[in-house]
Subunit: 339 residues, 2 copies
């Protein structure tokens, strides 16, 4: 397989750091690695495979001879610099929401719509974390029968708001235990022993941005513009794995739970955790640090003859962000390599 | 108003302690108070209105001259001793699940079906905490149009498993922050920075006991045996307020959000917290220690023309247990007092 020159824009954040780890730990045909960040971080060094890599300032000129540029530096940086990467001949894999709904930009979960990668014109978008984790369960189930409607409620970890938010959860929880004032700075509300509606802007229809992403991105990835979805996105005091309670209604009779369990088991990237006797189901603590999305609590919905209920947990930084981006790069490489 | 002789069976638990506080702080016409607990706690004393009350052992003879006996000592104690209280002439208000589905026993949320109190034959059951909190939002909304189906996912606090579970959450979280082993004892899984499916027995249909309670008790309280409900009950690392993400589907066109907001605002025991601009919605931290159930995130469901979404938080020990029981006693007293 050919060797690939990689750049990471936003290499010091929670997702960028994880992407660095993936390139270090896994079998990626890396020719070279360039770390890019804001002027503030430029000049600092990071250890990578026993070497010191110097972090350079992200500019329009950062992408010469780069094959793949991974962006996780926020939407405005992506909008400014991803086109520059493309002009330099790189494939930009963008973790921000900047290009996700652009009809010219594939939005990809490799296990679900990896074939869309071939349509790219320089940028491939990495979906929203809650959307990816939903789709890892929804896609295999959807292969068994036409889905009419999805009702999902999320239990989202602090990591979705970045490394500083994870630190705020830990430090603030310590303060709460000591009876000290909580003084939130990253989140608008205390996160220690608390939960709240996802802190993104609410539109006129009452949905927040995170919920809208789940609705629109899911439809785009599945090529199913009519799929009915409602989402309620809630931040919970968990460090780095998102969970979701999902109700799926089929157009016609629901598939058997055995068929659903088989489809999930056979789907790459899913692990079924559904032990009723041991009361062992998906938990963030077990989804943390692993590639697979955990799926369980599978049951026929007593309230609707065509519906089922399930519960999932997935690592927000891995499959919800960096791992999915990494997998896009691997799949792109596979599709564009000879034989 | 006549004076009432009260007994509390299970006076040392999380709910019993709260009931004691209610009798101390509020304007209840208390003639006398008898505290009952297991032999283990008998002989200990508790302060009440500046006096030392001695805790007596709970026996079949504990209820002589008692008018109202509040039970929160677990299902088996209720089954054993509530009939004894009734034989002694007391009204037993039972917080356990022992009698809730008994057709001869009213199951009461006073704001919703207070009139059912009059049907009692000695025992009135206090509903499951998640059920009460759901109903405080569902009942006023249901007054505006026939509800066909409810899809609910819960975010349940540790307090539902008792005072020891709350202590486990706090102590274990401290250990997690110090990087020490978690060793859960009350819960089957770590609760520090984790969440998991409600730790009750799973039936053959895949629903756990808590979910089944929400389905069956809601139907009984609303006198609506055909109401379709599915629930997914999840324990989260929160101390004492439950939250719920609720999707309500009407038979016909949904009422306007204005009409729903008005119905909720006018309903006793509900506070609407629904400030989209400030991103301020129901949160456990604000529901803790207050009587009202907080309701917000009201919006039309984009996925179904007849459905709405909302989010609620309510204090599990207050409205979810002790306060509702207290209110049953107050309403019973009102109904049975002259003029």
């Amino acid at each position: 397989m050919r060797q690939v020159h990689v750049a990471i824009a936003g290499s010091t954040g929670a997702v960028g750091t994880e992407f660095l780890k993936l390139l270090e730990d896994r079998d990626f045909p890396l020719a070279s690695l360039r770390l890019l960040a804001s002027a503030r971080s430029a000049g600092k060094t990071t250890q990578f495979k026993g070497q010191s890599l110097c972090i350079e300032e992200l500019t329009a000129d950062s992408f010469k001879s780069i094959d793949v540029a991974f962006f996780s530096a926020g939407g405005s940086r992506s909008r400014e610099f991803a086109p520059a990467a493309v002009r330099s001949g790189a494939l930009a894999i963008d973790n921000s929401s900047a290009f996700r709904m652009d009809p010219a930009v594939p939005l990809v979960v490799p296990e679900v719509n990896g074939a869309d990668i071939a349509q790219h014109k320089g940028i491939i978008a990495n979906p929203n974390c809650s959307t990816i984790i939903l789709l890892m369960a929804l896609a295999p189930i959807r292969s068994l029968g036409k889905v009419r409607r999805v009702v999902v409620s999320t239990y989202q970890a602090a990591s979705g708001a970045g490394a500083a938010a994870m630190q705020e959860l830990e430090e603030q929880t310590g303060r709460a235990l000591r009876g000290e004032p909580l003084s939130p700075t990253v989140f608008p509300h205390p996160i220690a022993f608390n939960l709240f509606s996802h802190n993104t802007t609410i539109a006129e229809d009452g949905y927040n941005e995170e919920e809208r992403k789940m609705v629109l991105e899911t439809r785009k990835i599945l090529h199913d513009p009519d799929l009915a979805i409602t989402a309620t996105c809630i931040r919970v005091p968990i460090l780095r794995a998102h969970s979701e309670s999902i109700n799926i209604e089929f157009e016609g009779p629901r598939p058997s739970l055995d068929a659903i369990r088989t489809a999930l088991t056979e789907f790459p990237g899913v692990r079924v955790v559904d032990d009723r006797e041991a009361n062992h189901f998906p938990m963030p603590i077990e989804a943390t640090g692993i590639d697979e999305v955990l799926v369980g609590r599978l049951r026929n919905d007593l309230s609707h003859p065509h519906a089922i209920d399930l519960f999932v947990s997935g690592d927000q930084i891995l499959k919800g962000a960096a791992l999915n981006g990494y997998q896009i790069a691997v799949e792109w490489l596979r599709q564009t390599s000879d034989g």
